[in-house]
Amino acid sequence: MSLEAVQPMQEQDSLSFSPARVWVIATNTMTEVIRQKVLYVFILFGLALCGASSFFTQFSFNEELKSIIDTCLAAIKLLTALIAVVGTAMLLPSEIENRTIYTILTKPVYRIEFLLGKVAGMSLLLFFVTIVMSVLFGAVLLLDEKALVSHALQGTSLLQASDPVKQTINAIYAQTRNPNLIKAIFLLYAQAVLLVSMTMMVSTFATSSLFSIIIMLVIYMCAPLATIANEVWKSQPSILGRVGLMFISFCIPDLSSMTLVDDVVAGKHVLMSYVLSTTGYAALYTLVVFALGAFIFQEKEL
């Protein structure tokens, strides 16, 4: 048995930022969360919720579809936010407790690569969770659509159907094949990524995962405040009031702009420009919060 050199040793004077290392850490983070199996409990819960919603038959097709959309979107919103906050809050403390962080950071790995890998892994995982839930949501909707349409037709074919029946069927399609649903889910995902980044930032200085979760809970509950602050700071007469409100809207992300569940259920149309500007806001907020977290982590004593 010999210990031969893997590659000729080169004297390097610098080490550049490496996306490959970030990717290694990201995939490892996904493996971690997936193999911990907590995720399955969450997903099963979501599946059950979506599945169950299709059994609530309502008085009218309109009510029925609304309740399904409402339940499913709410499930996606809750689950992604929960996984984002709870999952991310556990990452750093468990690394520190298990001392795995020592072995990683004593390899030629930048701290920012480590943190980015963690955030990217979690975001990627949430992407899959969102896709899985959306596919299920779509399946529930399509099944229900089929049932409702055949009920409306009552044995006749679509070509022979009377105008009122055609109108009903079109109304059903308007609900189930609504592009606003996809926009809403997309923004929920953007919110989840923002929450991941923010939780990671908090956990760089938090003393435990519980601490991070509680802080994030407070931020989550105060989010409506940010929406109000965002709207009224310009009309504040005093400078102090303005600065105070600006501070609030800076510290607390405007999450309600990303959760359009109620609007979509109420049948409001979501403009593409709105989606773009909100995504831009979310991306910028995510980036700033990440940068802050990376800065704190850089100085952290391990």
């Binding site: 210990l3 390097q12 290392r21 072995t103 004593e301």
Partner: protein, 280 residues
């Protein structure tokens, strides 16, 4: 250039608002390339803290450490370093092979070279049979072995081993000792923290003993342990008669096998230097 050099390396830990612990106090070390260097000392004397400072896991309160001439605070200084931390735990959800693959990829070892290296290292640390088992089910000694494996995955020039034999069975202990000797033959530098004095005595070229974060003794193991002012004769085939007057007669009637300085054990030396130290 030294493999590791520390200049007045000092580390204070704040505990609470006012109190602080002086974990390391103006430590100066110069460790040559290719040397096996032992760090000894009672519990809490600052051995692990020294290693962490050398690897940039802690920032020094004062002074500095360099690795192959590069400041410990830079990431490039870690290119050729492997650490086995004390009581290592790894990702419980990975198996032995996946663990090594993960660390290998982090060090940009990839492809067939990585797979070859993984096989080689699993063989070397004696875990070939358990390569597909999750680390959650590994025993303490097995974790220690996989820890040693991940420290060597990128073939570093410098290895820092914090109590590598803690929890390892006697045979494994001997394997690790032999491995260290092999590493030395390959020209690697090894810094070893250990409480197993006989092992340190066997493998280390030089040692230093720490106490309350200060270096109280440093030197070449052989020189430290030999008693210069005394002589020792090993004689055989001495007649009964001559035995009585042995001091004068050895060279006349017996055959002089060897003369040397008697050596004390490292244990004696250690107890002399730091015996009775209270843990603070």
């Amino acid at each position: 250039m030294y493999a590791v050099e520390t200049k007045d390396l000092t580390k204070h830990f704040r505990i609470g608002l006012k109190r602080k612990v002086i974990a390391l106090d103006h430590l100066n070390l110069k460790i040559n390339e290719g040397e096996v260097y032992g760090l000894l000392g009672p519990n809490g004397s600052g051995k692990s803290t020294t290693l962490k400072l050398i690897l940039g896991l802690h920032q020094p309160t004062e002074g500095e450490a360099t690795v192959f001439g590069r400041s410990s605070e830079t990431v490039v200084s870690r290119l050729h370093v492997g650490l086995l931390p004390e009581n290592p735990y790894f990702y419980r959800y990975l198996n032995g092979e996946e663990t090594l693959r993960f660390y290998g990829k982090l060090c940009r070892v990839t492809g067939p070279a990585l797979e070859r290296k993984i096989d080689e290292i699993l063989e070397l640390v004696g875990l070939s049979q358990s390569r597909h088992r999750r680390l959650a089910g590994y025993s303490k000694g097995m974790l220690q072995r996989i820890g040693l494996g991940q420290a060597m995955i990128h073939d570093p020039k410098l290895l820092l081993l914090d109590e590598p034999t803690a929890g390892v069975d006697p045979e494994g202990s001997i394997d690790i000792r032999n491995l260290i000797i092999k590493l030395k033959k390959m020209g690697k530098t090894v810094i070893l923290c250990s409480h197993l004095l006989s092992q340190v005595q066997d493998v280390c070229d030089r040692i230093s003993i720490l106490r309350y974060g200060k270096k109280v003794l440093e030197g070449n193991v052989k020189e430290l342990l030999s008693k210069k002012d005394q002589f020792q004769f090993i004689a055989s085939g001495l007649s009964e008669q001559d035995k009585r007057a042995v001091e004068e007669l050895i060279s006349r009637s017996g055959k002089l096998e060897s003369t040397s300085h008697p050596t004390s054990t490292l244990e004696d030396l250690y107890m002399e230097s730091v015996g009775g130290t209270k843990i603070i």
